[in-house]
Structures are given as C-alpha cells and as structure tokens.
C-alpha cells in the first residue's frame, strides 16, 4: 500500500469521531468492537479451517473480567484489557486442547456447548458476589484524559480504534512466515501438513488460544462501550452472530471482518423495516441468500471480481 493510501485509510477511520455523534457514533464504535471479535474468530476458523460456534463465550468472559476488575477492585479501565486477553487465551487453550486433536466437527460441538454453558455459569448463585448474578454489573465509562479536547464518546471510539489497530498489527506480525504457511497447510490438507513435519495439534491449539485472546479483548472493549454486562447479552445467539459475521464477510480479510460486523449489527434492524412481525425470518433468509450468492463471503466475492477484471485486461495487471 502506498503511503498516500495509508494516510487516506487512517483519516477515514478517525473521521467518524468528529463527523458522527450520539447513537451513530456508538454504533460505529460497536462496529469496530464486532469487527475485532470476528477477526479473532477468523484467526482460528479462517486460518486453520476449524469452526467455532462459541466465540461469544470468550467475548462474554472478556467483558466480565473487565467489569469485575473495575467494579470490585477499582482497576483503571485500560489495565483490565491485558488481563481479559490472558484469561481468554488460557481458557481457549484449555478448551482447544481436547477438541483440536481431532478432525471434523468436534470443535464446533465443544464451543457450542461452551457458549450455552457460560451464561448459566454467569448466573450461578455461587458467583453472585462477583458477577452480580442475573442482574449483571453496571460500569462507569472511561474518563477522558484531561489534556484531550474530546467528548467521552469521541474518546471511547478513538480508544477502541487504537486498540483494534494495535491488535490487527500484532496479528499481522504474528502470522507471518512459517506459522502462517503451517496454518494454511493444516486448513488445506492436514495429512500432508503432518507429513511435512508440522505439529498439527500444537499449531491449532495455539491459534485457538490467540483467537480467544482477540475476541476476549473485543468483549472487554464492548463492556466499556455499553457500560453494562449481564448474562442475557451473551446467550448462544451472540456466538452465532459472530459466526454469521465471519461467513458473510468472508475469511482471511480485514475488510471482510468489517463487512461481516456490519451485517450482524445492521441487518437485524433493516429486517425490522422490511417486516415488523418477523424480522428473524428476513434475517435468516438474507443470510442464506448471501451465502448462495457469495459462498466465500463478501471478501471472496470481491477477490473473484478483482481477479476476473484483471483477466479481462491483462495489460494492466
């Protein structure tokens, strides 16, 4: 990417903080949070080809770690993010250890069960002093540092953007070279990968832990944005929404993750405009239709479009 384009993208990303306000800025902030969560899912599903239907669980745990540390221990908001990431990575590692040794749908099953179990655990009586049970925890949002001339919403958006950019960069650096090729080999032909000396189980488990870390931090940011956590916000449907976002957006692509986040965030509202009585039906039909038109998601469709235009005009390629 040329330097000019990079500056252009940066301006485009920062602009919403000053152009939008109120609810629109809030939604744009949530778009960034969801995109980060979907990117986390992509790190395991897109790169190693294992389906997880339970990333909402990591999102929930990240959110709760932040909420509990802030509400019960008076931690500053920024200090909770690394802890949330570490807790989710450890949990991801532990969950992935048995499921990822096997091929097939096992990870999908374990993660789906995890997604169903986490809200129940969060509601449990034994943990009520920490989690607030079914009532959840109300948070105060981050305070704007005194030197910056920003409103709370603007600061929040820019903070989320900065963390997301940092993590995107980290993912990019982390997934270069040998490990990236090893992961692609595992996705495309596990047996050949193993024969080539790749420790399939170890790579998959690590990828899953990193993926859980990303989605956990997204959850933690989500808690800061919404300023409220409760088990009801983290039911199985959240995990399914993240998966839908990944499939619709397409794997292995940053714009794809943003597009997918847009789909799960805005399409339910649009569906309500189409049919007041059955928005869920419209949403589901749109999802199936999107998959029929673009089996590899928006990112895959875009790639194919670019490739066919290049073929049509070979001189410019």
């Amino acid at each position: 990417m040329s330097r000019l384009a990079a500056v252009g993208v940066a301006v485009l990303l920062i602009a919403p903080a000053f152009v939008l306000s109120g609810y629109h800025l809030f939604q744009t902030t949530m778009l960034a949070v969801y995109a980060l969560a979907i990117l986390g899912l992509d790190l395991v599903t897109g790169t190693t080809g294992q389906v997880s239907l339970g990333h909402g669980a990591f999102y929930a745990i990240g959110a709760y770690v932040t909420a509990i540390l802030m509400a019960s221990f008076n931690w500053p908001y920024w200090a909770t993010l690394p802890v949330a990431g570490a807790v989710c990575a450890a949990l991801g590692f532990a969950i992935g250890l048995p499921a990822l040794r096997l091929r097939g749908p096992y990870l999908a099953l374990v993660t789906l069960a995890l997604a169903a179990a986490v809200p129940q655990i969060l509601r449990a009586k034994a943990l009520e002093t920490w989690t607030g049970g079914a009532q959840g925890i109300v948070l105060s949002g981050p305070e704007v540092p005194a030197l910056l001339p920003l409103s709370a919403d603007q600061f929040l958006y820019l903070f989320v953007l900065a963390i997301a950019a940092l993590l995107f960069l980290a993912a990019h650096l982390l997934l270069r070279g040998r490990i990236r090729r090893a992961m692609a080999a595992i996705r495309d032909h596990p047996l050949a990968a193993e024969a080539a000396g790749i420790d399939v189980a170890a790579i998959k488990t690590r990828a899953f832990a990193i993926s859980a870390l990303f989605t956990g931090i997204a959850g933690s940011l989500g808690a800061l944005v919404v300023q409220f956590v409760a088990p009801d916000s983290f039911e199985v449907m959240l995990s399914i929404a993240l998966f839908v976002g990944l499939v619709v957006g397409g794997t292995g692509s940053l714009p794809g993750a943003v597009a997918g986040a847009g789909f799960v965030l805005f399409v339910p509202n649009l569906s309500e405009l189409v049919s007041k009585s059955a928005p869920g039906v419209v949403y589901g039909v749109l999802l199936v239709a999107a998959l029929f038109v673009m089996p590899s998601g928006a990112a895959g469709a875009l790639r194919r479009l670019v490739a066919s235009r290049r073929r049509a005009r070979p001189d410019t390629a």
């Binding site: 749908p105 069960a113 179990a117 129940q120 009586k125 998966f243 589901g284 029929f292």
Partner: protein, 291 residues
C-alpha cells in the same frame, strides 16, 4: 433408593428424546459429513404443526402421523432445494446455511404460532397417578415406549430393507454406490426426510413435559450432540445408547450434583470428557483412512 430409581427412570424417558434427535443428527452427518444445527428448530416447528392440527380437531394419533409425514416432506424439500446446491460450497458456508435455517425456523415458529409458552397434550395421560408404583408418570412410560419402537423401526429399516441398504451404501461410499446404480442424491434427500421425522416425534413427545415455545429444542439439541458424541458420531446404534445415557446422567447430575441451574454446563463437561478419554465415542471405531 426409590428416589434414585425415579430419577433414573425419568432420565431414561428424556434420554429417549435425546436418542431420537441424536439419531437424526447422525443420519445426516454420516451421509453428508455436516452437522445439521437446525435439527432442533425444525423439530420445534413440526411440533407446532402438530399442535395446530390437534387444535383444529384432528384426533391425536392422526395428527401425529400427519406431522411425521409433513416433516418428512419438509426435510426432503430442504435437501432437494437448498442443501443440494451447497454441496460444492466451502464447508464453512454449509455450516452457515444450517445456522441460517436454525434462525429461520426459530423465527417462523414464533411468528406463525406466537411466542407464548403453550401446553401440548399427551396421549398417555389416562392414568395420571403414575404407573409402576408411582415411579414414572404415564406420559414418561408412553414416550419411552414410543421412542424404543421408533428406534427399532429405524434399525429394521436400515438392516432389512433394500432402501435402507442403499442408504447405508451411499453413506459409506457414494462413488461406488453410484456405480452399482444407487441414486445417491435421493438417498440423501430421504435421509434428511427421516431425520426431520425423527425430530418431529421427539418434539411431540417432549413437548408435554417441557411445554412448547420457539426455543423448546435448543437445550435438547445440545444434549443430543453430547449423546451422539458419547455413543460415537458415526454410529447410529451408539448415538441412541448415548442419548439414553446422557438423559440419565443429566437427570442424576441435576438432582444430586450440580442442581438445575448448571444443567447445560453438564453437557459441556460430558462432551469434553468424551473427547479427552475416548474421542471415537463408546461404540465408534477410530477410522483409519488409506491415502
């Protein structure tokens, strides 16, 4: 002691439901290598159809039979119209479509039939005091009987009929089956239809116990997955046994160990434990593939 026996027996009764749904899941999985995450929601939808028929004055068993047939048609139609076209798509999209179906059927149930919790009649409520010395309710005994008969019918179908043999062959080796003249496409559609019918029966049997609402089967689906995995996800007989076992474990665990508020966590524990201790399931074979 009689409390323990009571919990075990009623666990067996719900286990029958898990066994039917697990069998439906395994049937689709064996043929297509995809799990149908919409199986539970389809079953709920079928149960609503049954309720509508019953409320329209159709006698219970006629409504039961009609629902089974309609569900079969629904399953066949879904496979022929929708999933067939996704066969060549990336595996991720196939999972995406089954999630899409889950959302559609869940929303359809709520939209067409309402979100309020409804009562569903049981055909076995004649002797309400319970049978076998009060250990099980009439409905629990009846539904266990229905499930066992159903499982035997499925077993008989696959073991003794030509079509059953063709379906087993198509699931085992689609290429060779085509060469000996089996229409693999239609066996897939019939598999989907039978899975939908099995789900419908499970839905109609469990509805009197848990009451009918659009999310009735979401928990059941998870236990069915656990059952299928416990018995061996490739093995219909194992899946049925696994379903019964999970029902008993769930009931005893809920009554004596974790309490009802953490019941779903128990499914997670079962699934994880099976994967650690015996990944192929109790009755599954570890598949060795020559490459």
């Amino acid at each position: 002691m009689s409390a323990l026996l009571h919990q075990t027996l009623s666990g067996l009764a719900t286990g029958g439901i898990y066994a039917s749904v697990a069998l439906a899941l395994v049937m689709v999985y064996r043929a297509t290598r995809h799990l149908n995450f919409a199986q539970g929601e389809m079953a709920t939808f079928s149960t609503y159809i049954a309720l509508t028929l019953i409320q329209a004055g159709v006698p219970y068993w006629a409504a039961f039979a009609l629902t089974v047939v309609l569900s079969f048609a629904l399953g066949v139609a879904l496979e022929r119209l929708l999933l067939r076209r996704m066969a060549q798509a990336p595996g991720l999209s196939a999972v995406g479509v089954s999630i899409g179906l889950l959302l559609i059927f869940n929303a359809l149930s709520g939209w067409l039939f309402g979100y309020t919790v409804k009562q569903f009649p049981s055909p076995f409520e004649g002797r309400s005091g319970g049978v076998l010395g009060g250990l099980v309710s009439g409905h629990e005994l009846g539904m266990t009987a229905v499930t066992v008969v159903l499982l035997l019918l499925v077993y008989g179908f696959f073991r003794f009929t030509r079509l059953g043999l063709a379906m087993r062959a198509a699931a085992g080796n689609a290429e060779s089956s085509r060469l000996v003249g089996i229409d693999v496409g239609w066996t897939l559609a019939i598999g989907w239809g039978m899975a939908a019918s099995l789900g419908a029966v499970a839905g109609m049997m469990v509805a009197p116990l848990v009451f009918l609402d659009p999310n009735m089967m979401s928990g059941v689906l998870l236990y069915a997955f656990a059952g299928a995995l416990l018995g061996g996800i490739d093995n219909p007989f194992g899946a049925a046994v696994g379903g019964f076992a999970v029902g008993v474990i769930e009931n005893l665990g809920g009554a004596y160990i974790v309490g009802t508020e953490l019941k779903l966590t128990l499914a997670l524990v079962i699934i994880a434990a099976v994967l650690v201790l015996r990944p192929a399931g109790l009755f599954g074979r570890a598949v060795v593939v020559r490459v």
